[in-house]
Point group: C2
Chain length 206, copies 2
Amino acid sequence: MSIAAGKPVGRLDFFFEFASTYSYLAAARIADLAVTRGVAVTWRPLLLGPIFGAQGWNTSPFNIYEAKGRNMWRDMERLTARYALPFAKPQTFPQNGLKAARLTLALPDGPHRAAFANAVYRANFAEGRDIADDTVLAALLSDLGEESAALNAAAATPEIKSALRCNTDEAVRKGVFGAPTFVAADGELFWGHDRLEQALEWAAAH
Amino acid sequence: MSIAAGKPVGRLDFFFEFASTYSYLAAARIADLAVTRGVAVTWRPLLLGPIFGAQGWNTSPFNIYEAKGRNMWRDMERLTARYALPFAKPQTFPQNGLKAARLTLALPDGPHRAAFANAVYRANFAEGRDIADDTVLAALLSDLGEESAALNAAAATPEIKSALRCNTDEAVRKGVFGAPTFVAADGELFWGHDRLEQALEWAAAH
């Protein structure tokens, strides 16, 4: 749980997937916004693959529905410009975020986990790097001063694999159908980067 | 085209469908927001049926994908509360907006068209009325001081039927895949009530 300035007044589960463009925006912005509102955020990676599969999709809906995809990429250009975030449309979409998600869970919840997640998002959506590549992930960890060998070993344990499956399963039970999704302590669910501020307001008030 | 205070500095096509929940929010809010930004709005009803059909859906995606639908209804409760708009989940969703869309096009673009569209949305999403019922539509027109008999006759002409088909076809050519969608004079497209303010800012600046 990220440490807010003073005692947090609320808490929020942040469900994200490394292949998700709008999750990138949420990951880049949530920490600062949460601190000013006194909300403690739990960073919970999940996999959209099984969730989309249950809806009958074998890839991102942005690939299945062409006009919807075209709009999303243009929307990302506009929104990253608005928030002064780096952006370059990746060659491959969606990328496989499985290894990155497991490494994220191998880091303790807190600033280190958030920093690694943001580094993975930049690699995917700004730097044209392959986030399924062990070398790329090891470099991102090293840049943050983390021990990539130890974390890779931890990420391969049954405990971490199970933790990722449980995040995904629990998200579905809570009503999650896409990412990013924010779930407050009382179960109130907010879908999409567009609801980030409202989710934090709710978490601070409930 | 709605008249803005002073000479409009931009213009925006507002594509909406009477069955669409988020179009209700946009219709209720766009006129006032556009005036303060000096943007002239053209109210263009369309039918989502053919657009969704081309995507392989025979009803609203909010009915096809249960968790997505549950979130939408809860989101509508929160957003209508936020904007102080009346709301009651209709018994039937989606309702058939064909007749209402034709009547809308039989009214000259301007305040009368906007007022009728808003009355239809309230009937659908706040008053539990059947917007495919001629009696209901006639009552809405009468409440606004319109001649319902003459408008019904106009709405049944080939010209009006064709105008609605052309709105839908042109929307698809511009990249529309859902509603509400806003398209600026330079072709820039913004999808969803969440992009209403950004669309108006763009229209005023381009």
